[in-house]
């Protein structure tokens, strides 16, 4: 078991090494280009300056990151619940699906930058307004993919369930939900990132009231102050958070699918 763990860790490291190398290369080129062409930091800062800003401004950026992540996590949760529940409703009856799907699309294509001011007027609580905005951004991939997945259950298995007199609920739990799982998880991986940018964009346009503020406010603030290294540091934090969220969700996918789904089986190359 211990040897296996060590092997697994070694493999994981090897897997992480390559992207890290590519990253190092990219950052190196960037740094060199900045120095070579003497680009002023307020146009594009060098990675070293961004790193310095990240460390120096951590007392400001850290809490901002925490706030943004909180909004992102909550809205992803809401997207999972909302998108999932809607998908279930749609799967339950094509009639409902046909009647309501156009309205789900309306929500998806509603540009939050345009409706944020309206949402602020209708919802008094800023955090709630942020959540609504981020949710609007994040829920559609989950809805769309899960609906597809629920309708992709194997026909023969579905017949088997009918034969054994499975209730709708049972068919859902034992057949359609497992069939939808890979699709749902693919949607989740997309929505994870969207929830994060949803949280950021929502704060950009709706603004965080009072003292609580997230990375968007710090980016705006740094932008107005022309503290571009800090702005890039905040952007870097968003990127890192995005990668972390994706890795987490991909790990979850693997865990749930590894025994049976093609996409999670080991590939030979």
């Amino acid at each position: 078991m211990n040897g296996k763990l060590a092997q697994w860790l070694a493999q994981g490291l090897a897997k992480a090494l390559l992207p890290a190398l590519v990253g190092a290369l990219a950052l190196g080129t960037w740094e060199a280009a900045i120095r070579l062409f003497d680009v002023p930091p307020y146009i594009v800062p060098a990675p070293s300056r961004i790193a310095t800003a990240l460390v120096r401004d951590w007392p400001i950026l850290g809490p901002a990151l925490a706030f943004t992540l909180e909004i992102a996590a909550l809205s992803l949760l809401a997207a999972v619940l909302g998108g999932g529940a809607l998908a279930l409703l749609f799967a339950r009856s094509p009639l409902i699906a046909r009647s309501l799907f156009p309205y789900a699309i309306i929500l998806q294509v509603t540009p939050i930058v345009a409706v944020a001011p309206l949402i602020i007027i209708w919802v008094d609580n800023t955090v709630a307004a942020l959540l609504i905005c981020a949710w609007i951004v994040a829920f559609f991939p989950i809805l769309s993919n899960t609906t597809l997945g629920l309708n992709s259950a194997d026909r023969n298995l579905a017949e088997l369930f009918r034969l054994y007199g499975a209730t709708r609920g049972q068919t859902l739990i034992h057949l359609r939900l497992p069939s939808a799982l890979p699709y749902f998880l693919a949607g989740l991986r997309i929505s994870g990132g969207l929830a994060l940018i949803g949280a950021v964009v929502a704060e950009f346009v709706a603004g965080a009231g009072g003292h609580e503020s997230g990375l968007a406010y710090r980016i705006l603030e740094a932008g107005y102050r022309l503290d571009i290294p800090r702005m890039f540091a905040a952007l870097a934090l968003i990127s890192l958070a995005g990668i972390a969220i994706y890795a987490l969700l991909a790990g979850l996918s693997h865990l749930l699918l590894r025994h049976w789904h093609e996409s999670a089986l080991p590939r030979e190359e």
Partner: protein, 224 residues
Amino acid sequence: MRPGEFLSLVGPSGCGKSTALRLIAGLIPPSDGQVRWDGGERPRPGDIGFVFQEPTLMPWARVLANVTLPLRLARLARAEAEARARDALALVGLEGFERAFPRELSGGMRMRVSIARALVMRPRLLLMDEPFAALDEITRLKLNDDLLALWAERGLAIVFVTHSVYESVYLSNRIAIMAARPGRIVAELPVVAPYPRAAGFRHGATYGAACAEVSAALGRAMAA
């Protein structure tokens, strides 16, 4: 078809045997005519067991969960469901594979899981679509006998699709021969021989004659 009967369906590939089973099970509506039930009442869920031509297992569930499925759908207590599933798995020779996933099994083993799933429910009517085609001779013979024992014990009715004339004769008390385009029953042959049919039955004259007769009818059906 009478209750307690063992009917075999034989016929050329693509003649509509699987479709006939689906019709009986009510999975597809008849395009013409109707399926009639004695006493007028349709069978309740769980009354019909079905072994599809393909294993049709849930890839995400382990063998045990696949076999207990009909029982869980009927809201049986978990412990009892698992006990019955283990019995059924033992019957098809798959003890020890309860925790395997379908994709870790060989083709024949998957089919046996599917058979175990159909048997676990104690149905009154069992529809089996070439259940033993992917099995070796010996397992097949053993399961033939097990099936007959079960049939005799529980008094269920069985519709059995097979391509093996020998199997059809050995098992059933009536054989329907189908022909293709349009799919229809062209001949019906009773197999008059008492149950239990001992191993000796296979070497008897009745058996040989019945086999020859069925083969001939099949030949005519294919030529039709």
